[in-house]
Amino acid sequence: MPWLEIDGKPVEVPAGLNIIEAARLLNVEIPHYCYHAGLTVVGSCRMCQVEVEVGGRKSVAIACNTKAADGMKITTKSEVVHKLRRSILEFYLQHHPLDCPICDDAGECDLQNYYMEHGLHESRVALAEKKHKHKVMDVGPTVVLDSERCVLCSRCVRFCREIVGSDELGIFNHGRDNELLNVPGKQLDNDYAGNVVDLCPVGALTDKDFRFKRRVWYMKRTASVCTGCSRGCNVFVDWEVDRRYKDSVRRVQRLKPRYNRMVNEWWICDQGRYSYHSVDAPNRVSVPRVNVQGNGHVPTVDEVLTRAAARIEQTMEKHGADSIAVIGSAASSNEDLFLLNRLFVDKLKVQNVDVTFGFEKKGKEDEILKRADLAPNRRGALELKIAPSGDGQGGDDLISAAIEGEFEIVIVIRHDLSTLLSEKELAKLRKNTSYILYLASHENGLTEIADDVLPLAMWAEREATYTNFQGRVQKTNIPFTPRGLAVPEWELWQTLGAKLGMKASYESTRDVFNALGTSFDGFKDLTWDSLGAGGKMLGNAPEPAYRRVQTSRPLPAY
């Protein structure tokens, strides 16, 4: 392990690390555009130049393509370095349109940041002499390119080539006509296209979905986990609730990937990236509903739960516990499933509790990130013994049995049975069941026919833990309060349980999670705080082998 000195501070770094990464260990940030830890090194931007002294000889080298070696003395903040960066920045800004006021990247733009740190020079090119290139150019269904702002770092080109292997972007022409464009005949329409926007150090590539919606400095950032599939990619939720706008219902503005070496590295898929729309969708269920011909009175959650508790008690007395079926969801968090288990399995001795997987939608699977299993917490359901059949067939059987009229009460969590079942089957289910309680986050066919509907808080509005397919328990954090009267699922079970004689008084999701360990071995050594930012494996299992997130056959690197 080489020992070297960066800005006068000695540090020991793993062999093979380049100077940018070595400096990061000391929290020294070396400016760069083209270098990205997830991509091959091209060394084209020349911004990361530092002074390197080896054996008494001083020279200037690019930090991205110079491996840290024993005895190196590196200076990142000398006058020579500063002057170099200043001159290089001037080249980058030579034909830059300086349209920061209308650029979405303003505020998180490296060109802006480095200019404020190093440049601060007057432009020597008159505005009229600037070279004009393509503006507002569609490179794909989700991304817009502004060639004038591009610094030709080729990060996006390398991403498409090395990670996705689709090779849709390229840099064409020479000299000052040098320009980023689509490879002829190709559109940037791969499943990971949104990542090029995150990669772009300037505002050349912008996201159509986020374009002009908010300025970046308005938003606050919360670390969370994507619940789009069983991968559980780490994300940041960027949200803004302070300002009144015409579209003020939109709280989550965008999702950005959060680095987790063992799960998703720097990337997320587009499906997950744009999945946040459902959080602020107009068809959210925000208040409880009792589907009886009434006077329009909006019941409270407690009123509905009292109704439900009375119904359950009556039915238990008359027909026994076997007349109740609970069709759980693998999209519920560990805490939700734990209290569901305690209430129905432990307390009420209901046999017919199962999570259905067969009815879950199947996604497109690839070797990069996407998984066919779209349930974010399938592994957690197995671990918490909510799925006794193991394969999820039990849940499907429950639904079939419910349609045939074997149960008096059917409790459905999240599943939109109206799209999963045919109209005939749904009508039959309604006819054969005396009471349907539906816990839903969105309006659908089932909220129309269910007896009682309770609003559920969604993943972005609450704290929760999910167990991904590897067995990694990861947590989400709260950015803002749930819409309307919506509550996390476990709170509903706790309140319902209190009315049915269950003793549980958890104050927060953390309490519930910390209590999981006493009942389930897998969660024994896990506490909310020990999960950290990157999550922990169930039952202290060893970390799975590191696998670089990319297709097995990327196109050859440069």
Binding site: C100, P101, I102, A106, K135, V136, R211, F212, K213, R215, W217, Y218, D242, R243, R244, Y245, K246, D247
Partner: protein, 198 residues
Amino acid sequence: MITVRQVREVKLSTWQKTYYPELLRGLWVTSRHFFQNFNRFVGRAVGLKVKRPLVTFQYPEERRPVAPRWRGRHRLMLRPDGAPRCVACMMCETACPDKCIYITAGESLDGRIEKYPVSFEIDLLRCCFCGLCVEACPEDAIRMDSGYIDLGGYTRAEFYMDREFLLKDSALTTHAQFRGELDGVVVTRVDLLAQAKH
């Protein structure tokens, strides 16, 4: 460097200490100005030639001019091609300490500047007229030199200015500082000049 200045205590004479004579003297000064001005106004109203100009303005028929740097109700400016100058960069919204500006940006596909304000609203009831929005604007799109000094209304909604309302005054030139002039009421400029000289 700190300097110390000695202030001598004002010693009142016995006459001043008796209080009432001084009070009456003050009243006399006030009354004299009132009646002088009153007589001049009445005199001018009945057609007499009054040498000295009036001290007060006969509001609302006459309006007092405001300085060019005076900050009044906002207005939005237009480009020569008729589009709003504003590019919805949200700088004013960001700078606003009262958070009374609400802009919704949109994308224009007609070959003009790609970003424009779909809606631009200012809640005047929250505004503190600090002028930071004008300072922040990189496009000279928002100004506070409309010269409107009398802001009144019967409902809160009247103080909620939308984009069209703000653009209405874009044609005002900077030197047209007189609301009265724009309304067709002539301000006696001679009077004003004499006032300034006096």
